[in-house]
Symmetry: C2
Subunit: 665 residues, 2 copies
């Protein structure tokens, strides 16, 4: 019977290699200069010394050998920290081996002082150094170090104890660390690792409906004139000035007229209603066209160019569904579900039907459809789009996404895909595993400090090797009950949380105005921008202090590498269950700058009252001695404090209800 | 680059298949009639119905298809419970599939009452039943059920709502459960499962040094006469009467005289000291010989026969090490480590040497040595031994054990190996993974109720699919500080714990006498039986009530299947941290008898004072309603109680400090 993966244990067990996904079924992910701890459990029978080496293969095929340290002796865990410096497909494996010189050092350190087997033991040391000298890759200097040690052991000029001391120099240990004598070398399988550009992990998104920016209503007729790429581009400098690095556009394609939805999702559009940009496709074209009201493809390219010039990348929304007027409905009925009566199926949630939308159906012509979708995305990549926000990926087959992600990883590895996987955990996580670079998460549905703390630990834990969260306090589709009721204080606090707890976060335009009135009975905004033009008066953008808060937060993210990483997050104890405190910490070894970085964030979850309490830090987690006192600078206010293990915080809804405190080095 | 296990996600994701070890690298374990939950996470894009089937392949190659139930919708977990009824190498895989009839039932139940798409919907149902009828494996009766439903949907005699009701009979659902219409069937890999005889999981061991049983000292000369297989066999009826099913003999081979150890591990034996049976090998032979003082091979066979006749199997100790007098030392110096001066290495813990022992060295001639060991074990299997207790397996290479276990699984699948892996967790667990049937554990080193409770949850959790614990309160080598101080009350309580918390447990002879005096500075008994004869006066065996307690416990184990399983253990809350309460529960579906079985155990950890408190049961875990009251019979005392969620216990060191309460059905 053929069974998968049966593989003998080998001379030296090397098990539980991390980080890996299902024994290498999918690659784990990292970005340039992101610290990746490579780990394995390595042990040997009996009491001899054992050691491990991480063998890392770079995208160019070159290999690097990294000595590993035993970081947990009881559990026999070895670790090396990799900071990859090039993009591409890496791989790694772990070699376990018996370390006869390590065993000998231990034995000799016991026997020689005790006067037991002295000659024999020194002779064993000489033999091992002879073996070490067989290594052809030794430099002249290294060889000299080994020869010197061997001669010392041989010479007999000193007492045995002094001989041993004289032979075992730090130089010798250094040479043997990189050029060890190894017995019974046993390798794990090879495991894949994708290294991507930093934007795949680190991004701050600002979402707009381009038609709203510059939209104008004729006060006499009531008629609207749509904003355009040109008018929307006038908003770009302000977005860039706030420090965002991605401007995300909801769909920009022609909008269907058949069964067009009206304001507030009403079934019948009034004359002049612009329709939902998610009802994609009309006579003017489908997913590869621009809505004529927004402008032309050339104007879109100019929009992208202007954004890029301001340091902004452009993300485009990809909603793989069609209005009844989409060209594919006629040209490719095989890409839709055809019912028994020959009609093309609408989207539905029985008994409700959504007659403005036909879902795509992948099972008739999966290859034709996936290639058409790939070609559509290529159009936008060609126009300068470098990120895609994928609408409802969980309603399309996983195997399609797996193919698409592999295709783009090969042809356009720079393109970043954000998965809007608001669904059950297995789907959300598997979308990440098959290649999505980022994912929306349950952040928005964690209204209490306790739930949020647990969630932050979850996303920054084992899941961090494949799923990169993108935290959104609200979206054009989501306005949770707590956000409806918490007012400006909660809007400010959630912005702080989103921007500091995850390397990627996003803000839906209008957040500055605390647009928190829901359509009755629905957890989304009233007068949803999906169904109408929504120009805003940007001269009032900082009335709640949110525009300047976002600017400050984005600036802190740029200056603190700890805020640009997912791992290194620790939740600390507080005496008040309305207060969440967490730290972001990178040791010097893990930091892209080579310098340690620590930021401590405390946030209140009560937008109605002042909350205060004592925070008790896990000092080890932030690289401090248990009794240390240290200076912090609150990047939100500029205030400086001296904190230690326990400190007092008072968080006032009148301000940000938060501290974002950078430890001064 | 060749990377392991890369495998597309497939049309319907089937992930996290359980129970499996490293994606099938090693088989998981079960015994005949042990319930094994087969699980997988199975989901589909969008909102269609999805389902899963476990496809189980029996040792004879036949396959069984088991419909799975979704036991956790949020996490998309499907389960089927397998109770294997034959021994051998099984395997299983999980198929995920879209369930168009399930989708249709959901849709129809919404649309038809709402009057939406009625004709079309009923027609879709007819088409699906046509597809179901294509299944060639349908019986005539099943076919008739499908045809009847199809005709009902077609007839139009009733109102649409009534038509649907009339068509969707329980009979129809039953037929479609076993003969479903399946779309996009996607299979997991095939995973291995070893099914062994019940003794591999369920056993109660009684350990003796056969030379002690019937040993006599000449009162005049002080000289000892060794016990023999013949005299030891006289003890067998008493062991069988207590209800044990395995009698375990420490090594029975010739003992070396060179550097023989004396009493209490002294370096020099006095004349007449019998030596440690773990210093194996003398002129009379090695691991395949019997010590002449014990008798002959024929007498050993008679011992085995007598044991078997009493319902006892015989376990033999296997200590893979040699005295300097072992024949292998001369005949096979390549099976030992030879030092630079040509001498054969002793066992050592530098600077200490153990000159009575040469460890075997596997790296010179691994094939020759492993075959010699296999041949030695075959000698004993041939003599009727059916279990081996492996001394210090963690000082021999894992790859040797993996080979030996595979070899025995093939040639002698009835033979059970118990691993004495008193070492770090990775080694202990990996020995179990590579094929040991049972393992000593850290049970002996969990002196508090809290630590013990956590440990019981650990061994009965995920580890239960590969590691079967064997709980020993003491051994000839181990007498922990708490056992030195707790007197008879603790000896009684630990016997209760060992016998009820694990399907396998063991007692070292003399436990009945509370032999708890340590050799100073060492956690083992003074006058250790390893170094001297130790006959006991069995007429006093029940002075502490322990012999009769063991009899009662073994009897309870025989009548309660819940005590013969590893899973189904739940630790319950108690108001007193000196009291541990846990239950053993099998649902009717999981029970080999087809009837549910529940035993609730409460044990005090304080041998010096009465302890009382309130137990709060997790009622769901024992298959009871939250407010149920039920009768229990304490198998230790015969007393009956009425218990509910909360009940009071008072545990007195004068007795067993325990309840072992069987829920009356």
């Amino acid at each position: 019977m053929a069974l998968p993966g049966e593989k003998p244990i080998g001379r030296i067990p090397v098990i539980d290699v991390q980080p890996t996904l299902e024994q290498g079924r999918w690659p784990v992910k990292a970005v340039i200069s992101e610290a990746l701890p490579l780990r394995a459990t390595v042990f040997i029978e009996g009491h001899d010394a054992v050691a491990a080496t991480a063998v890392v293969t770079h995208p160019n095929g070159r290999t690097t050998r990294m000595p590993m340290d035993e970081v947990n002796h009881g559990l026999a865990i070895f670790e090396a920290i990799l900071l990859p410096r090039t993009e591409g497909r890496w791989s790694f494996r772990i070699e376990g081996w018996a370390d006869p010189f390590g065993t000998w050092m231990h034995t000799a350190s016991k026997k020689i002082p005790a006067g037991v087997d002295v000659e024999l033991t020194l002779g064993d040391g000489v033999s091992l150094l002879e073996r070490a000298l067989e290594d052809k890759s030794l430099s002249e200097r290294q060889r000299a170090v080994l020869v010197a040690a061997r001669e010392t052991l041989r010479s007999g000029e000193l007492s045995p104890v002094k001989t041993l001391e004289a032979a075992l120099t730090d130089d010798l240990k250094d040479v043997l660390r990189t050029h060890p004598v190894r017995d019974g070398v046993t390798s794990s399988p090879e495991y894949p690792l994708n290294v991507e550009r930093e934007r795949a992990l680190v991004s701050s998104w600002y979402e707009i409906f381009p038609r709203s920016e510059g939209a104008k209503q004729n006060t006499r007729t009531g008629e609207w004139k749509s904003g355009t790429f040109l008018t929307a581009s006038k908003r770009l400098p302000a977005i860039a000035d706030m420090g965002f690095d991605v401007v995300y556009l909801t769909p920009i394609h022609p909008i269907g007229t058949t069964h067009r939805k009206g304001r507030n999702n009403s079934l019948t559009a009034m004359p002049g209603d612009p329709g939902s940009p998610y009802a994609i496709g009309a006579a003017e074209g489908g997913h590869d066209a621009v809505h004529p009201e927004l402008g032309t493809m050339r104007q879109f390219r100019n929009f992208v160019k202007k954004a890029n010039g301001l340091g902004l990348e452009v993300a485009l929304d990809v909603a793989l569904q069609c209005s009844p007027d989409h060209p594919w409905v006629k040209e490719h009925p095989e890409w839709f579900k055809v019912r028994a009566d020959g009609t093309i199926a609408y989207a539905e949630n029985p008994p409700k039907k959504y007659e403005d939308i036909h879902p795509l159906y992948f099972d008739n012509d999966p290859v034709g459809l996936r290639e058409a979708i790939r070609d559509v995305l290529d159009v936008w990549v060609d126009a300068g789009v470098t990120l895609f926000r994928i609408d409802n990926p969980h309603t399309k087959p996983l195997e399609f996404w797996e193919w698409l992600m592999a295709d783009f990883a090969e042809r356009h590895p720079e393109v970043v895909f954000l998965s809007e996987a608001f669904t059950r955990p297995p789907m959300m996580h598997t979308l990440a595993k098959v290649g999505f670079h980022q994912s929306y998460t349950y952040f928005t549905w964690r209204p209490t400090a306790k739930e949020m703390g647990e969630y932050l630990e979850e996303v920054s834990g084992d899941a961090s090797y494949y799923m990169r969260p993108n935290f959104w306090p609200t979206t054009h589709d989501i306005l949770t009950p707590d956000m409806q009721r918490g007012g400006a204080p909660l809007y400010r606090a959630r912005a702080v949380l989103a921007a500091t707890a995850s390397p990627s976060y996003g803000i839906y335009t209008g957040y500055e105005f605390v647009e928190n009135v829901p359509r009755p009975g629905v957890e989304e905004q009233i007068d949803n921008e999906k169904y109408e033009y929504k120009p805003r008066d940007w001269s009032r953008a900082d009335e709640h202090g949110i525009a300047s808060l976002l600017t400050t937060l984005n600036s802190a993210r740029k200056s603190h590498p700890a805020l640009r990483r997912l791992r290194g997050l620790t939740v600390h104890k507080t005496s008040n269950d309305q207060i969440l405190c967490f730290s972001r910490h990178l040791s010097a070894e893990e930091s892209p700058t080579g310098r340690a970085d620590t930021v401590i964030v405390a946030v209140s979850f009560d937008p109605h009252h002042v909350q205060d309490g004592i925070v008790t830090l896990d000092m080890e987690a932030i690289g401090q001695d248990a009794d240390a006192r240290f200076l912090v600078d609150d990047v939100l206010t500029g205030a400086a404090f001296t904190w230690g293990r326990d400190f007092y915080v008072r968080l006032d809804p009148a301000g940000t209800m938060s501290h974002v405190a950078a430890v001064r080095r």
